[in-house]
Every structure is written in structure tokens, then in C-alpha cells.
């Protein structure tokens, strides 16, 4: 058993390292990097939403806060990326601490709506505080990270290949930390709280304390992801706070496989890859007339149709496949016994 697992791990590692050389072109590499941000986002979100079962609609705010923080520090103060990155993560974490203090005692619908209100207010501020964020113009010219290693020279993360390795490192860190947290007392506490909060409290598990840990940790990784995102796309605008993004993240967690480590990763890959794959699907309505004299002239699959499908997948998915794809696949192909409530399914 163990030998094949080590071997499997090595092959996986080799594969991940070789990705820039395997993929057909930079466009695919770009999509993989893009998915990488969401691996970080979804994994962090999973701690609160998956393990503890609390629906937070505010995660996108942490992502955006990290992105803007890092971008502003680089553009206005000339900070190097390596300082902006932790700054972004810390800013998000601080907001999470402050917000968490206020709202983590609240449960149910109220919690959901407060996180939504938080997200909207943060978006409003970024939209309107022109002096700081330049509003909808966004911040352009965010520099790519560069790294000076004395004796070796300068590594520049402008190239996609280099940036891929950078995001790979952070994805691995994020996933590993989440794995350790999920398998620790914290993870077990979160699941206990999810299953039966009063019972957990009665044996001394403080829901507030543990949910704070999950919330802040998730926010921290979201902030890091934001900083990486800003320095990759080299442009950031208040669109990062769009409601659709948080819905995407939640879908990745819930349909990928909540309360598993692999779930958000697979979810991120699927839900960033799928919309782009649809770019190559021809528009079935092309050439049809939807009103006198008006032809559908676009060969692109309509965004409306894509989103309709997405909404439907989300709706049906949470109802009929509530645990997500990864546990479902595991059950189907009988790889390992399914976890009992409270015990951790051994994640890879």
C-alpha cells in the first residue's frame, strides 16, 4: 500500500512540475494558472463552508482586498511583490478577525446575509473611493514579481512558465495547510460543530473559537490568492467583487466535494476549465432569426446560455449530489471506505 502511494505521489509531483512542457500552448497554461487561484480560494473557503457547514458569501471580498492591497502597495509605495503578498494576506485576515468577532456568533440566514452585506459594502467602497482605488478605472500596470537570488541572478515571473511554478508552490502550501488543519483537532471540531453544535459546545468545543480559525485562515489564503492574481494579470478592477465569483467559489467547494481536500481542487479545475471549453462549442442558435430582420450573428455560445447551464448544474448538484463529485466518485469506484460522521476520510 504505502509503496504504491509514494510512487503515485512521485508521479503526480513529476507531472505537476512538467506541466509547462506538456501542455500544447500558453493559452492552456494560462487557464491552469487561472485555475490555480481558485484552488487556493476554494480550499480556504472549504474550511468554513465544507467542514463547518456555514455559508459565507463574503469570501470574494477577502480575495479582492488582498489583490487591491498588494497592487496599491506596489504601485503607490513601490513595495516589492514579496512584501505585498503577505500584506495582502494579512489585511484580509485582519478584516476577517474584525468581521468574525461581530458575526461568528450568529447562525443561519442572518449569517449568510451579513456576509453578503459585507461583500457588497466592500465592493461599494472600492467602486466609489476614487482617491484610493480609482474606481472602475481599476489599477493598471501592477508589476510582475521578480526575484533576485544573489549569485544566481534574477528570476522574473513575467513568463507564464515561471509564474506557473510560483502559483504551484502556493497551491501546494494552501492545500497542505488545509489538509493539516482538517486532519487536526480543529478539523474534527469543525465537523462536530457542523453535525451538532449544542452537543459540541456542551463538551467544551467553542464554536466561536474554531469558526474564527477557519474563517481567518480561509481569508488569509484568499488574500494571498488575490495578491498573486493582481500581479499576474497586472490589472485589477472592482469586478473582482462580482457576486458571480463567490458563487463560482462556492460551487467549486460544494460540487467539487465539501469537507474533502481534493474536492475544492477538482472543483476549481472543472469550473474554470468548463466555461472556457464552451468557447469552442458552436452556437446552436447561429444563423437563426430571433426577431424579424435580426439574425443571431455570433458564433460564440451565448453567455446567457452558459450561465443558465451553470445555474441549473448548481441547483441540481446541491440537491442531488450534495456531497460533491469527489466523494461520489470515491463511493462509486469503491476506493476507500467512506468516512463515518466525525471521522476524517483520508484525503490525498
Amino acid at each position: 500500500m504505502k509503496v504504491s502511494r509514494i510512487f503515485g505521489g512521485l508521479v503526480l509531483t513529476a507531472l505537476l512540475l512538467a506541466i509547462p512542457w506538456i501542455v500544447p500552448d500558453d493559452y492552456i497554461l494560462h487557464l491552469i494558472i487561472y485555475a490555480g487561484f481558485f484552488v487556493m480560494l476554494a480550499s480556504g473557503l472549504n474550511l468554513l463552508v465544507g467542514y463547518m457547514g456555514q455559508l459565507s458569501l463574503g469570501h470574494g471580498a477577502f480575495w479582492g482586498l488582498g489583490a487591491y492591497c498588494s497592487a496599491l502597495l506596489a504601485l503607490k509605495q513601490g513595495w516589492p511583490f514579496w512584501l505585498g503578498l503577505p500584506a495582502g494576506g494579512l489585511l484580509a485576515a485582519v478584516f476577517a478577525i474584525l468581521l468574525g468577532r461581530l458575526i461568528l456568533k450568529v447562525r443561519g440566514h442572518r449569517f449568510v446575509i451579513i456576509t453578503l452585506a459585507f461583500q457588497i459594502i466592500i465592493q461599494l467602497v472600492h467602486y466609489n473611493w476614487i482617491g484610493l482605488t480609482d474606481g472602475q478605472n481599476g489599477l493598471a500596470g501592477v508589476p510582475s514579481p521578480t526575484l533576485e537570488i544573489p549569485g544566481v541572478g534574477k528570476i522574473d515571473f513575467f513568463s507564464k512558465t515561471n509564474f506557473y511554478y510560483l502559483i504551484l508552490v502556493f497551491c501546494v502550501i494552501t492545500v497542505y495547510v488545509c489538509y493539516r488543519v482538517a486532519n487536526s483537532r480543529v478539523g474534527r471540531a469543525l465537523e462536530a460543530i457542523r453535525e451538532n453544535e449544542p452537543l459540541a459546545e456542551s463538551v467544551g468545543v467553542s464554536a466561536f473559537r474554531y469558526s474564527m480559525i477557519a474563517f481567518v485562515l480561509g481569508a488569509f489564503f484568499a488574500g494571498l490568492a488575490g495578491s498573486l492574481y493582481a500581479h499576474y494579470t497586472r490589472y485589477i478592477s472592482p469586478d473582482v467583487f462580482d457576486f458571480l465569483h463567490i458563487v463560482e467559489m462556492l460551487t467549486m467547494v460544494l460540487l467539487g466535494g465539501r469537507a474533502t481536500i481534493l474536492g475544492p481542487v477538482i472543483g476549481a479545475l472543472i469550473f474554470t476549465g468548463l466555461p472556457e471549453a464552451l468557447r469552442f462549442v458552436p452556437n446552436p442558435f447561429w444563423g437563426l432569426s430571433w426577431a424579424p430582420g435580426h439574425l443571431v450573428t455570433s458564433k460564440a455560445l451565448p453567455a446567457e446560455l452558459q450561465l443558465m447551464v451553470f445555474g441549473l448544474i448548481l441547483l441540481l448538484g446541491v440537491v442531488y449530489m450534495p456531497e460533491g463529485i469527489v466523494p461520489w466518485v470515491r463511493k462509486r469506484f469503491g476506493r476507500r471506505p467512506v468516512a463515518q460522521a466525525g471521522e476524517e476520510a483520508h484525503p490525498e
Partner: protein, 292 residues
Amino acid sequence: MELAIQLTVQGLIIGCSYALIAIGLTMIFGLMDIANFAHGEFYVLGSYFAFTVAKMFTLFESVIANYFLGFIVGTFATIGFGVILDRLIFKRLRGEPLLTATMATIGLSIFLANSIQAIWGHWPRQMPSPFGLDPFIWGPVVMPPVRLFVLVVTGLCIAIFHFLLRHTRLGKAVRATFQNRESAALVGIEIDRVYRWSFATGAGMAAIAGIMLATFMPMDPVSGGFATLKAFIVVILGGMGTFVGAIVAGLGLGVMEALGGGFIASDYKDGFGFLFLILFLLFRPQGIFGEE
């Protein structure tokens, strides 16, 4: 001063629509305990169904006839659609954990909003208005006829709703279920029927609000989310599960936004509502009229 009076009046009228939509949401929230993120879509659907009948299928010569036909058909079509949704989806969602139900309604709202956009396109549409544009002027108050219409219809709706709730058997059943679901079922009330009628009423109210607003504002397939959000704010500020709360908070929010937008800051106008929302949720979660 004059401006304040005028803005207050305008705020009240917008508040009417908030109140109508919120009453509907209160029913679903209070009865089924589901945070229905798709509620605003009834508001949008109402206006689009009405528009289709009034403008696309113009069956009559006169604008008035088309308008009111559209109004009636639009409302009932939305109610019908709501009942179908209830049977197909919300029935399945009752009893599901909050995470599942909420995300399902979010998915539903994305599906509906984009379907509307796919079917009707995203051109700004408007209900053909049988009302003249020139306003009545009563002292400091400038009242366009269509907005007076909104006031009147809202008042009628609330009155009818109140009557139905207080003086019919179904209304009594709804109130009983609201107070205590299990006991209501125990005394033989058909819970499913109660749910269905409540959903229908909620959808209908939202549709009426949508149709009225579409008479003086251009329609937009994606405004459902916005409407849902406002409805949530109103429901929570007013007190989840109280209809009086929904009405008072709805009108109040409208007035507050009008005064805030006019006197304080136009670009942060929507922020006031959210700020109050957070404050209430933290410090007075039962809202103005709710009981804890």
C-alpha cells in the same frame, strides 16, 4: 422644506414596491424557512410576461386595454409559474439544510435571470403606459399619474391581503402555520396547500410590483438580484415573519434611500440600506416588529 417633502413622497412610492416584494418574501421565509434568493425573479418575470401580452401581442387597439390585460395576465402567469416552481423545486428544498437550500435558490436565480435574458434579449423594455407624463401638482408635491397608480394599487393589495389573512379559512390556516408548523399539521391543516397558496401570493405580489415599476422604469432582465437584496433588507429590518414589519420597513427603506440619495451622497445611496442591515442584524436581529 419642500424638497424633503417631495423626496419623502417619492421614497414612499418606491417603498410601496419594496413592501410588496417583501411581503412575498416574508411568506416564504417565515413559512418555509428558506432564504429564497430567486424571489426577485418573480418581480422581473411579472413585468416581462405583462410586457409580452401588452406590447408584443397587442390584442386591442387602445393602450389602456392592452396595459391592463398585460397586467392581469402577467400577474397570473407569474403566479402559475410560481406554483410550478414550488411543486418542482421548493417542495424538494423544504427540510434541506440551509446551505443546500440557499445555494439551490442562488442557482435557480442565475438560471432564471439568464433565461429571461436569453428569451427576451437585453434591450431596455417598458410597459406601454396608459398614463400621461404630465404630473399633478399639489403644493410642494409633484405627482405623476403613474406613481399615484402605484400608491393606489399597493394600498389595494395590502388591504386585500389583510382581509384574506384575517377573514378567510385559508388565511387562518396560513397564520396558524406561521405560528407553529407542527401544531398546525396536527390539527389537520394541509401544510402543502398552505405553502402553495403562500408561494402563489408571494409571487403574485412581486409580479404586481414589477409590472407597476416597469410602467415608468425601463425593464432589465438582471434586476432580479437587486430586487431580492432589497427584499431581504426590508424583511430583516422589519422583522422576519411579520407582515406589518415588511410594509413599514419597505416604506421606510424607500424614504431613507430617497432622502439619503438626495441630501447626502448619490453614489453611496444603496449603502445606507446595507449599513442599517448590518447594524440591525447585529444588535436587533428581530427587526423592528419581530419577536425573538
